[in-house]
Amino acid sequence: MTARTNALLALALAGAILLALLLGSVPLSPMRVLSALGLQGHPGDTLVVWQIRLPRALAAAVVGAALGMSGAALQGLLRNPLAEPGILGVSATAALFATFVLFFGLAGAGPLVLPLAAIAGALAATLVVAIAALRTRSAVTLILVGIGLSSFSAALMALLMNLAPNPFTLADMINWTLGTVANRSFADLAYAAPFLAIGAAILLATRRGLAALALGEEAAEGVGLDLRRQRLAVILGAGLATGAAVSLAGAIGFVGIVAPHLVRPFVGYDPARLLVPSALLGGLVLVLADIGVRLLPTDSELRLGVVAALIGAPIFVWIAARGRLVR
């Protein structure tokens, strides 16, 4: 059943990316898009497809996948369906670190400075949250620590905005807070990709331990799980993947909570088998949301993160209100 779920989701994701290539402000027929993809078409078409639409769609897919997988892994580690990079303040802290680099003009020092800063922020936040979670073992405390971390990052972000030397810097910062994949290039993707791949590889390699953690930490140790290594792996993997995602798109919340929640019943609630379909669904959700953002006839384009929050926040409230939060 898991294999079929994965295959269906992968197919849907590929279809959504294709759809993203077909739709846009410049009307292109499917034939023209296909020939442009094969580098056979009109140079203008090729430019639109290869420079604008494809990198944007891939960025949305990759960011959604990273957030979906990180959310699923954090939920498995913390044994809580509400754990997620956005809720736990990981995305906000990563965005803050990235903004900090932009604000002081350090991003010019090299193309890797921005992703590294975002990853450092994500790792710092994941570490704080994990320490808090392991000290208290209370889901409520965990969420509160996340809220505190988000608020603190938001406050520092507001401070930086307050001190912004010019409107361009301010506009940049707003983009980071709201989250968008507009105008992403293959170069941007290439700088984030290695960190994302390493993070995802760490999470996938250690996912079996997440299943053991379903029994509780003590019993998981009893069946042979190296608890310290498992915690470290998830913190590192989720931090790398989330940080890389934020460096690409800014802070986009709620994908990591919605995707795992929807696919969980299809993998028998197994936190290990949840990782891959969560990533696929996370990617699918963001690609579709980004198509929506591009097609909505608004004066200034909606930011992807705004749309994700508009869909995701009510679902978060719904999951939280159904109880099972305190264990």
Binding site: N80, R208, A214, E218, A219, G222, R273
Partner: protein, 258 residues
């Protein structure tokens, strides 16, 4: 060779001694019950015996090997552990929960070798869980869930099984059912060590009792040898009458000792 041997285990937390100089051995085929009042150090002793806690002094040998030197996987292939039952984080099907007992052999839910699948099937049969395999764990009663956890531990097919209050919060019928399953697991050739609070249950099923008070082992022997009115008064502070009955003893608790 003993399945488990502890030598002079001592452990203190925040300056308070929790376990002092605890030494005992477990032999295959024996159901040993660890009894003592709340806070006497039983759970800590179990965790020390399994190598999940590092003792301040003393050592533990499982099958002759120092437990702290074993990797978590290697240790889990020798000793299965049932901590005080906590709710599962996710409503997984019963089959997958039991499959987690094979974790130390590289298995995971949905990916079991033929050997793993056979062990899981044997555990399901032993705990009479046939027909429950696809049920979500959160739809089970307390007694059924206790059997699922036991099956998970049995599926590891280890020479040693350690459990912390496996029958707490169960009604009498389930208590006896689970206690019988433990006895059966022991008489198949395992060494079984379990904490039990119910003294009549201990008197009925234990092959051997280890008595703990204030972090120390105060008595160690068969029910007939160690179950005495004076000891119950001293260790538990209860006024009880112990009468020989059949092959064992019968226990009547009158109330707290005066």
């Amino acid at each position: 060779m003993s399945v488990l041997e502890t030598r002079g285990l001592t452990y203190s937390a925040e300056g308070r001694p929790l376990v002092e100089d605890a030494s005992f051995r477990l032999e295959p085929g024996e159901l040993t019950m660890l009894i003592g009042p709340n806070g006497s150090g039983k759970s800590t002793l179990l965790r020390l015996a399994l190598g999940l806690l590092a003792p301040d002094a003393g050592e533990v040998l499982i099958d002759g090997a120092g437990v702290r030197g074993l990797s978590p996987m290697a240790r889990a292939r020798k000793a299965a552990y049932l901590p005080q039952t906590r709710p599962l984080a996710w409503p997984m099907p019963v089959r997958d929960v039991i499959a987690l007992g094979r974790f130390a052999y590289g298995a995971a839910p949905g990916q079991l070798s033929a050997e793993d699948a056979a062990a899981v099937a044997r555990a399901i049969a032993a705990c009479r869980l046939a027909g429950f395999e696809s049920r979500a764990a959160d739809t089970l009663s307390g007694g059924e869930l206790a059997r699922v956890h036991l099956a998970r531990a049995l599926a590891a097919e280890t020479p040693l099984l350690v459990a912390d209050e496996p029958v707490a919060a169960l009604d009498p019928r389930y208590q006896h059912e689970v206690a019988q399953l433990f006895a059966a697991a022991a008489h198949e050739g395992r060494a079984v060590l379990t904490v039990v609070h119910d003294l009549t249950l201990a008197a009925r099923y234990a092959d051997r009792l280890i008595w703990m008070k204030d972090g120390r082992i105060v008595a160690d022997g068969s029910v007939a040898e160690t179950m005495a009115a004076e000891r119950l008064a001293e260790v538990f502070g209860i006024d009880a009458e112990v009468m020989p009955s059949g092959s064992g003893v019968s226990l009547t608790v009158a109330g707290p000792a005066r």
